[in-house]
Amino acid sequence: MSIASLDLDLDVFTGPFDLLLTLVLREEIDLFELQLADVVLAYLDHLESSGQLDLESATEFIVLIAALLELKSRLLLSGEDEELLDIEPDEAAEELLARMLDARRYRAAATHLRELFDAEDGVRFRSAPLPAHLRRTTAEPTDGSQDPAVLGESIGRLLHMPPAISLRHILVPRVSVAERLTHLRGLLHRGGFTFDEAVTGADRMTVAVTVFALLELYRRGEARWDQAENFGDISVHAISEPLRIAG
């Protein structure tokens, strides 16, 4: 089966995968609203029900979903930290395109190699030691035939420090989960709160860390939340008296 016809039944979209891609690229569906994890889950469901893994379409799917993830993550990062996005959109698209073409090119080349390999099926080569009377005469390499400079060069290459990896594209966390836990516990202590209240005026990174903190509270059984509708307010309530542990 081609990935294009994978049927999806998502919150914001119902239909085949290729239509979804088209709608996303035409901006008729907001990538923000699209839960990519659900697309992956739908694909996994499809794999499970079909009972077989078609590597061709699996690769296609991974490349496409990776492209969507990349677009989405760039969307999420855009805005206030302009200097982080030193790649122009068309550059990014070209890079993405080049990568998709490369992957496709070498997948096809791999198919060709497998055909060559299969065509040689049943061809065997002889591999036997030389008969004893011929083996005796095998000459040792001559003295002084090797250049010691080869050794010095090898060591010199190994002394070479690789360039430091640039971490410029990774945000330096300015907030910690522990900090946000303390903050949320403070709000819980005063009764319930909505998620928007918890992150009023916060930057994107703080919002993200606050989500983690909230998940941590849930995991520890300190809080639960409700959301009446998609993108509506998320209201958070204490399950029991919050534990007073400094994060």
């Binding site: 901006e27 990568r99 490369d102 070498y106 080349a109 190699l113 049943g122 080569f125």
Partner: protein
């Protein structure tokens, strides 16, 4: 017996003894015969061992000549040696091998970048089987890989030049243009659109 026939016999014996394919030059050095004589003897052998005439075939592989069995004997060989062909090739290994074959010398991180997923386990297996080998280091110190003689031998190639141009598998210019167009439109949307919520 003519000289050519005699030389062909000697070459036949040498090819039988050698594990690796032998180049006309090596054969000439060993038999102390000239280039043209070797070529004539090889031509005679090629005729005698043409497909279907014997249980063996003369093959030109990996820059030299070697004998290989006719696939017709494979069933019997499998019964006798009670093991199938040396190995099979998984899709991941085939892909990694294709990338190394076409882009050699190439480092693992580069292979990974092209495949989009790690090539470590496939590369390790290919190394162990001798299909790829180390070939120095990149300027950043990463180990580079290339294919070796065994690769050419097992895939029936005389040299890397026998591999078809990889560009033949590129999508048509129209397909590329369409893909580029789609990606660019998404890019413009990104540049123009304001930041949304985090609910995505």
């Amino acid at each position: 017996m003519t000289d050519t026939a005699e030389l062909a016999h000697t070459i036949e014996a040498l090819l039988f003894l050698s594990t690796d394919p032998l180049s006309p030059r090596e054969l000439g050095d060993a038999t102390e015969a000239g280039e043209e004589e070797v070529a004539a003897a090889l031509a005679q052998l090629a005729e005698e061992y043409a497909p279907g005439r014997r249980g063996l075939r003369l093959r030109e592989l990996a820059g030299g000549y070697t004998f290989a069995t006719d696939p017709a004997s494979e069933d019997a060989a499998r019964r006798l040696f009670s093991r199938p062909r040396a190995f099979t090739l998984t899709p991941a290994q085939a892909e990694t091998l294709a990338i190394v074959a076409y882009l050699q010398p190439i480092s693992r991180p580069e292979i990974t970048r092209i495949r989009g997923v790690s090539a470590d386990s496939a590369a390790t297996t290919l190394l162990e089987r001798g299909l790829i080998e180390e070939s120095g280091r990149s300027q950043f110190g990463a180990v580079l890989y290339r294919t070796g003689t065994l690769f050419l031998k097992l895939f029936g190639l005389r040299s890397l030049d026998d591999l078809p141009d990889v560009a033949q598998w590129d999508p048509t210019p129209e397909e590329q243009a369409e893909l580029r167009d789609r990606l660019l439109r998404a890019g413009e949307a990104r540049a123009g659109g304001g930041p949304g919520g985090v609910e995505g």
